[in-house]
Amino acid sequence: MIALQKRPTPSRALSLATPLIAVLITMIMGGALFAVLGKNPLEAIRTIFYDPVFGEFAFYYRPQLLVKAAPLVLIAIGLSLGFKAGIWNIGAEGQYIIGAICGAAVGLAFYPTESRLIFPLMILAGALGGWAWGMIPAFLKVRFGTNEILVSLMLVYVADQLLASMSLGLLRNPEGMGFPGSRNFSDFPAASSWINEAAGLHWGMAFAFIAVIFAYVLLNRHILGFNIRLTGEAPRAARFAGVNPTRLILFCLGTSGALAGLAGLFEVTGPSGQINIDFASGYGFTAIIVAFLGRLHPVGILLAALLMALTYVGGDLAQGNLGLPSAAIQVFQGMLLFFLLALDLLTNYRVVLKKKGAA
């Protein structure tokens, strides 16, 4: 009989190893799935995991990976702070949209002025927009005890409507012949987030990197990071340790909102280029997976975001080259999270084989 036995101390080695094991099992099971679909599993796995990084056209796909990973890192880092404290911001997608709208609006207000000050101002506006959107569930939770999961999630749909209204109304390109969508930032150098478009480098990557370092130092060296972890582990002990839960909620939701807002701003002024109805691409939700896949650890999140970006880019490639249906790619991504969460059990429990009790 197989039984689970609780470990006295969570296994550190396994908590590091489980994401890798999960990836491995996903590859095997995904391969089996592709085989059932009549594709060569090895080729499919190679197309998804190997070709974008080392294949013939890697020079094109590698920058793509960074472009996809940067917003995921920024958002997931913010989310991980709250998740560690047991504060569940599910609405990063909304904060991402509002950040993009606010930042873009500030930039477009200056069009076509060229000044070095415009882009920093837009960054500030993007962060503030996301922050403000994150503070709505924070304030409601602190003041009225509402559930931040529901409020932040519902605000995503509000943000979606705002996005539609903006791209059709206030921010619509006056020279766009009536098409929905704002001016394209590629025509507005002072407000572009590209550092080097050919190399696929934009400011979002720099900020994502800074966010990783900032979060690492905060969580491992600073008392505020300790208080965040303590609140998640044992809320009553946190109170006893003098942690002010109200301030912590405001900090975590505010910070994750601001980072999501930044991600939106860098996306709209770079890869996406304009505020449009279909600007929202689900990064805010995917980042939740990234945060957990990365063990809520800053470096883990960086790696997880790259892996997630790989499944996006490689998945596109497999769709194009092998004719894999896009649903199969989504199943593949879902498997990854599924196996990860299932294997998570092993960090706290060990599997023991028991002989049937001598009755």
């Binding site: 006295p8 300790f226 582990e233 044992a234 002990a237 006893f240 003098g242 002010n244 009755a359």
Partner: protein
């Protein structure tokens, strides 16, 4: 010699890393109150769980009235006539007494019938209880009566009671003992688990003593001194804490008119509490659990803020300061609940040392944590308070209750408090460790600290307090010098027997008839 009711031979049960019971044998006769005595972790709970069918023994046999007895589940044990009152009650607060009893029955009769039966049993055995009352309104003693009556309705041959007096006032203990004696007279045997020696001496006919899972001796409690039993239980001579006679200094902690609504709906409201503690003095606060102890600790530690001037330390109003501001002033606390309140279960001991030590030990600088200094502080606690652990990296939940308690108390004591408030400092701690914790508190007082010890262990309070008060329904009794207090006086300070005012008419008739 007649066949014993239950005969246990060579019972052994091992868990990974620990042998909970090692070849334990003893007999429980008919009409006998049999004590099972041992420290925490001696294997008492595992043993009774095997009798009650919750745990299967690895080896060994049991016979019940001469027949082989191997209950595979509690239902089978109950069918044979074994009933058990657990230390922690399993009752639903929102339901009435009768509804709670019905929930535990396989074929509950109609509510009216059941209420009548409950009333009858409660009258017969002197357990005053109204079947229609909501359990949420009952005191701990009354809740225990619900559990006992639930068992008695099954007509048990053997009643197992796990630490039944830990939640009772002395008067309630008397009522319980009368009930148990009556049950014994009517032919029910009782297996009575406790570590309180005086109780066992007054109540029990035989005692089996367990130490580290082994049966280390049997005795007739009435003919054995408490000290001898304690030494059998501990396997060592006991160190009694010593106190140096000290003069109490100035008033350090001054609580006046402390009133506080509880933070959770099932808490107790503190009502107009007054007391002072001088430097070098230990104030013991007794009372049955759930009468405001947690709330009092929260008010003193700063987790709950109160009206201005309700709490003053060295003349300074601290009522509106949070825990860290109070730590800065030297007011430290150790809550009752070790895991989840005093310490975070999944964090390491080093991290748990930071939990309260950051301020006074200077473990952080401009918000940045000095981890090496924190680890040193954790090591110091581990060393000076003899915390048995492989190292400071171990998660708090991996420590045994007693070891974690030593860590939690040590963490506060080593921060040189001016005022220390502890709740249940030796709860679940073995006798030797309890003695060393009490000694540490006495030494701290001798060094000039003002100490408040909240505890449900009256022996402990009498041993170390200079003055004594009791909490009862959120009110504080008069504070009196501890020396010379009789157990009756203490019982009255704790509120006497809870619920006697609802004693049934039938109960009084019974009393009149007796």
């Amino acid at each position: 010699m007649t066949t014993p009711l239950l005969s246990i031979k060579g019972l052994t049960k091992a868990y990974p890393g620990v042998v909970a019971n090692d070849d334990v044998s003893f007999d429980i006769g008919h009409n006998e109150v049999h004590a099972l005595l041992g420290e925490n972790g001696a294997g008492k709970s595992t043993l009774v769980k095997m009798i009650y069918g919750l745990v299967k023994p690895d080896s060994g046999t049991m016979t019940w009235n001469g027949q082989p007895f191997a209950p595979s589940e509690p239902k089978a044990a109950r069918a044979s006539g074994v009933a058990m009152v657990f230390q922690h009650f399993s009752l639903f607060d929102a339901l009435s007494v009768a509804e709670n009893v019905a929930l535990g029955m396989e074929n509950p009769p109609s509510m009216r019938d059941l209420a009548r039966r409950i009333r009858r049993v409660s009258e017969t055995y002197g357990l005053p209880l109204d079947p229609n009352r909501t359990v949420g309104d009952l005191s701990a003693g009354e809740r225990q009566r619900v559990e006992i009556i639930r068992c008695l309705l099954q007509d048990p041959k053997l009643l197992i009671m796990d630490e039944p007096t830990s939640v009772l006032t002395p008067q309630e203990v008397d009522i319980l003992f009368q009930t148990l004696n009556k049950l014994k007279a009517e032919g029910t045997s009782i297996l009575y688990i406790s570590h309180k020696l005086e109780e066992i001496r007054t109540l029990c006919d035989h005692a089996t003593i367990l130490r580290l899972g082994k049966n280390v001796g049997e005795c007739v409690p009435a003919q054995t001194s408490a000290r001898d039993m304690a030494e059998m239980m501990v396997g060592d001579t006991l160190q009694t804490p010593t106190r140096t006679t000290e003069k109490a200094g100035d008033v350090v902690l001054d609580v006046s008119g402390l009133t506080l609504e509880p933070s959770n709906p099932f808490g107790t409201t503190l009502k107009n509490i007054h007391f002072t503690v001088r430097a070098g003095e230990i104030l013991g606060i007794g009372g049955v659990a759930g009468n405001g102890q947690d709330e009092l600790l929260a008010a003193l530690s700063g987790e709950a803020l109160t009206w201005p001037d309700a709490i003053k330390v060295n003349g300074k109003d601290v009522a509106n300061l949070g825990p860290n501001a109070r730590r800065d002033l030297g007011i430290l606390a150790a809550p009752e609940e070790r895991l989840g309140h005093a310490a975070a279960p999944d964090l390491s001991l080093t991290e748990n040392a930071l939990l309260t030590g950051a301020i006074r030990e200077g473990l952080s600088n401009k918000g940045f944590v000095n981890w090496s200094k924190t680890a040193e502080f954790a090591d110091k606690i581990i060393k000076q308070f003899d915390v048995r652990t492989p190292g400071n990296h171990v998660a708090a939940r991996a420590l045994s209750g007693g070891n974690l308690q030593k860590f939690v108390i040590g963490r506060e004591v080593l921060q040189r408090p001016e005022v220390l408030v502890v709740n249940q400092p030796t709860w679940g701690v073995d006798a030797a460790a309890a003695a060393s914790i009490r000694q540490a508190l006495l030494d701290l007082a001798a060094g000039g600290a003002a100490i408040v010890v909240i505890s449900q262990d009256l022996d402990e309070l009498m041993e170390i307090s200079d003055r004594f008060g009791a909490l009862n329904e959120g009110r504080m009794s008069d504070i009196r010098p501890a020396a010379g207090l009789t157990i009756d006086e203490i019982g009255l300070m704790m509120g006497g027997a809870h619920g006697m005012e609802v004693a049934n008419v039938g109960d009084q008739q019974e009393g009149a008839g007796a």
